[in-house]
């Protein structure tokens, strides 16, 4: 019998362990940088620094996406080296301010619609109008101007007087996500619910596709979600028809406001508008769904509507159009779902929602503006949109994107995508001025209304009425806007 010396055995184990670690690193895309560093011989004249909260190391999909973008862009632009820097979403603005003050800003970065307007008003973003008018066409023939994008995607990236500070890269919208298994079960006995589905050409029900206008109006929505709610023997909600979350409730207001012809704020960001009669009517509608119709399970901070939905305990929840991939991942593909916009209220017209968008922006302290624009043209072109669809499964903000074979194929493979374009087209602009500060003022009051609605209606709550509470919240938000607008004027005076 051959005896393997102990030292050889140890070396063998060591090599195997090393190989295993390298395989993990390689599979996770973490060796890409080393390989590229080895491949590079001559440093390129332009180092283009790009910030993003998306990260090549998030997972394989993001790794592949960033690798494809970098490889294609650098091949076509031999003078540019792309350097990605990942910054967590939560610290993005803070770190951006620090980098700019410290003279180490990125050349360009992905910016959320959440902050873009504020960043521009603080003087951190370079206007893009001159670049768009001078050189608006990417090499694949796709244009980068207003006409090329969904109108709802082009509403987040410019000021009221037409200064464009970002190029749309992603569009998202709030939507209703429906559990089609629950609906199909109920549809067997209920014509009303059966009507929510698309019909095949032969007239049979297509249980994979929910109609965009499946729910006609608020009353219809109440009827539907009441039918879909089931209760335990002791009267608790077992399966919610629609899940409402009171904590952070200000987030559920904008899309319902839009359905009733109301808005959270004016476009100029000077006053709150959610306490209009239509806004107050909306607040009553949401509160009654919970307290009178009892279509939602109890408010619980640790359980989000998405958690309930993924447990199969809610027939319908509000979510973003981006949520499909997350639901599939978290339910391992078992949940069968579809998406619609929100039905109109008494003062509203047609299916509505709110949209928001991410955009590529150029730092006003970038020294590589021309190369940054080349990069923007690439990632915001049809080609860039299709790369995101291929690797990340995201829909795009471009009109031509929805005419492509790739999108049709994606809809065939994932039927929940079928209404996404219409949902995005039905969107008003999400609240956009000093969102955190406005939420800090409004949210506790909206939360109080939802938590104490019966007392408030009877005049026994912390506010004399729902109307009084909404007016108080709006007054507080107006103070935020006043203070912010004064500051913006001051910043403009300071900036040469």
């Amino acid at each position: 019998m051959v005896v393997i010396p102990r030292s050889i055995y140890r070396i063998f184990i060591g090599i195997m362990a090393l190989a295993l670690i390298m395989a993990i690193f390689w599979r996770a895309g973490m060796t890409r940088g080393w390989v590229e560093a080895l491949r590079e011989t001559e440093p390129r004249p332009i180092q283009l620094r790009i910030w993003d909260w998306w990260s090549p190391s998030s997972n394989e999909e993001f790794g592949d996406y960033f690798a494809a973008v970098k490889e294609t862009f650098e091949r076509r632009n031999p003078d540019v080296e792309v350097i990605y820097q990942t910054v967590p979403f939560a610290n993005y603005v803070q770190k951006l301010s620090t980098a700019m003050v410290g003279r180490t800003p990125p050349d360009l970065f992905q910016s959320s619609g959440f902050w873009s307007e504020g960043l521009y008003q603080r003087g951190m973003l370079r206007p893009l109008n001159d670049l768009i008018s001078k050189d608006p066409v990417h090499s694949d023939g796709s244009r980068l101007d207003e006409a090329a994008f969904l109108p709802t995607a082009w509403q987040h990236n410019h000021t009221q007087d037409g200064v464009v500070f970002g190029m749309p890269m992603i569009i998202d919208a709030s939507c209703l996500v429906w559990n089609l298994d629950i609906l199909e079960q109920a549809a067997k006995q209920d014509e009303d619910i059966r009507d929510m589905f698309v019909r095949h050409p032969d007239g049979s029900v297509d249980y994979d596709h929910i109609r965009f206008e499946a729910v006609k109006d608020w009353d219809h929505f109440r009827r539907i979600v009441k039918k879909l709610t089931t209760y335990t023997p002791d009267g608790e909600v077992d399966q919610a028809g629609y899940t409402i979350q009171a904590y952070g409730a200000v987030g559920l207001l904008p899309h319902w406001l839009a359905t009733n012809g109301a808005r959270f704020q004016d476009m100029a960001g000077t006053r709150a508008m959610f306490d209009s009669p239509a806004g107050i009517e909306t607040m009553h509608f949401i509160s009654r769904l919970y307290w009178e119709d009892r279509v939602s399970s109890s408010f619980r901070r640790e359980l989000t509507p998405a958690d309930r939905f993924q447990e199969g305990k809610s027939a319908c929840i509000p979510a973003g159009t981006y949520s499909g991939k997350t639901i599939i991942r978290n339910t391992m593909g078992w949940t069968h779902f579809g998406k619609t916009a929100f039905p109109p209220g008494p003062q509203g017209q047609g299916q509505k929602t709110v949209t928001w968008g991410n955009m590529m922006v150029i730092s006003n302290r970038s020294t590589n503006v021309e190369a940054a624009w080349r990069y923007i043209k690439f990632v915001c072109s049809l080609e860039g949109n299709l790369l995101r669809l291929k690797h990340l499964g995201y829909n795009g903000p471009r009109l031509d994107f929805y005419e492509t074979e790739q999108w049709r194929q994606a809809m065939a493979e994932r039927p929940y995508l079928s209404n996404v374009k219409q949902i995005c087209l039905a969107g008003d602009k999400l609240r956009h001025t000093e969102i955190t500060a406005a939420d800090h003022q409004a949210n506790p009051i909206i939360e109080t209304i939802l938590l104490q609605y019966p007392d408030m209606v009877n005049g026994q709550g912390p506010y004399p009425s729902v109307e009084a509470a909404m007016h108080e919240a709006a007054r507080n938000v107006n103070k935020v806007y006043d203070r912010y607008n004064r500051q913006v004027k001051q910043w403009k005076r300071q900036t040469p």
Partner: protein, 281 residues
């Protein structure tokens, strides 16, 4: 023997790196914060207008600053934490001291929460409190729930401090008391408590200081809600400093006001510590 200049300078050279770090990261940043508190200040734009004491006035007098509301919440939290720590850490220390076998194991177990990251504890307790009937879902119970977490995570650390204090009490005092017929309660009342006075003061003051600075659990578990019932002063400062444009000056003013309140407690601590020996006379 004369000491050369070089010998005199050596100690300063040793402390220079630590001093440098302290000056840059504490003194300078505190100075900037003090300067910012008198200005409209934005992290990117920098200081714009000098506003004098206006940020302090806003914090103290304007209702939408929520300074007093968050200060009131903080005070409640501090009171619950101090009482909670004293009624858990001291009995734990007394029990632990009497254990003959495995004292190190118990000490380690109780100490574990103190070395576990606050974010992890907050996430775990977020779900535990949800299972326990939604303690974080009501304005009446959310702040006490956060205090329970604060007490739980601080009890082990304070127990170790008490154990050290207990170990310092001379055994002959107990022996003499026993000879005089003192029972357990008498020994505790007339020997343990007086001899632990300095430790008690230290634990109380340190608990007060750390409770005034509670932030992680609020940020992770309640975000100040429901209905602002858990909005503590550090949360208000954080939101204004880092999430709202141009409010760094206001946040700095609120931070200095918090400093003033904590300073009062530190001052009291220093006064009490002036007399260190209990049985001097």
């Amino acid at each position: 023997m004369a000491v050369s200049l070089r010998q005199k300078l050596v100690p300063y050279a040793y402390i220079a790196p630590a001093m440098g770090i302290t000056v840059v990261f504490s003194v300078v940043s505190m100075g900037i914060s003090f300067y910012a508190s008198f200005h409209d200040y934005d992290a990117f734009v920098g200081a714009s207008a000098f506003v004098g004491l206006d940020n302090y006035r806003r914090a103290l007098l304007e209702p939408d600053s929520y300074f007093w509301l968050s200060m009131r919440n903080t005070m409640f939290y501090v009171a619950m934490s101090v009482v909670g720590v004293l009624i858990t850490a001291l009995p734990l220390a007394l029990v632990c001291q009497r254990i003959r076998k495995g004292q190190a194991l118990f000490r380690t177990l109780y100490f574990l929460p103190s070395i576990t990251p606050g974010v992890v504890l907050a996430l775990v307790f977020f779900h535990i409190f949800g299972i326990w009937g939604g303690l974080l879902d009501s304005a009446a119970t959310a702040l006490p729930a956060l205090a329970i977490l604060g007490v739980w995570s601080g009890a082990g650390y304070n127990m170790v401090i008490f154990l050290a204090g207990l170990a310092d009490i001379p055994q002959h005092l107990y022996d003499a008391a026993k000879v005089d017929g003192a029972n357990r309660w008498h020994q505790f009342r007339h020997i343990t408590i007086p001899m632990l006075r300095n430790t008690l003061v230290f634990v109380t003051v340190m608990t007060i200081i750390s409770a005034f600075q509670v932030f992680t659990s609020v940020y992770i578990m309640t975000n100040g809600g429901p209905e602002r019932s858990t909005e503590v002063i550090t949360f208000t400062i954080f939101i204004n400093a880092f999430s709202i444009a141009g409010q760094m000056g206001f946040a700095s003013a609120a931070a200095w006001l918090l400093f003033a309140v904590i300073f009062v407690f530190v001052f009291i601590q220093m006064r009490i510590f002036k007399s260190r020996n209990v049985y001097d006379g």
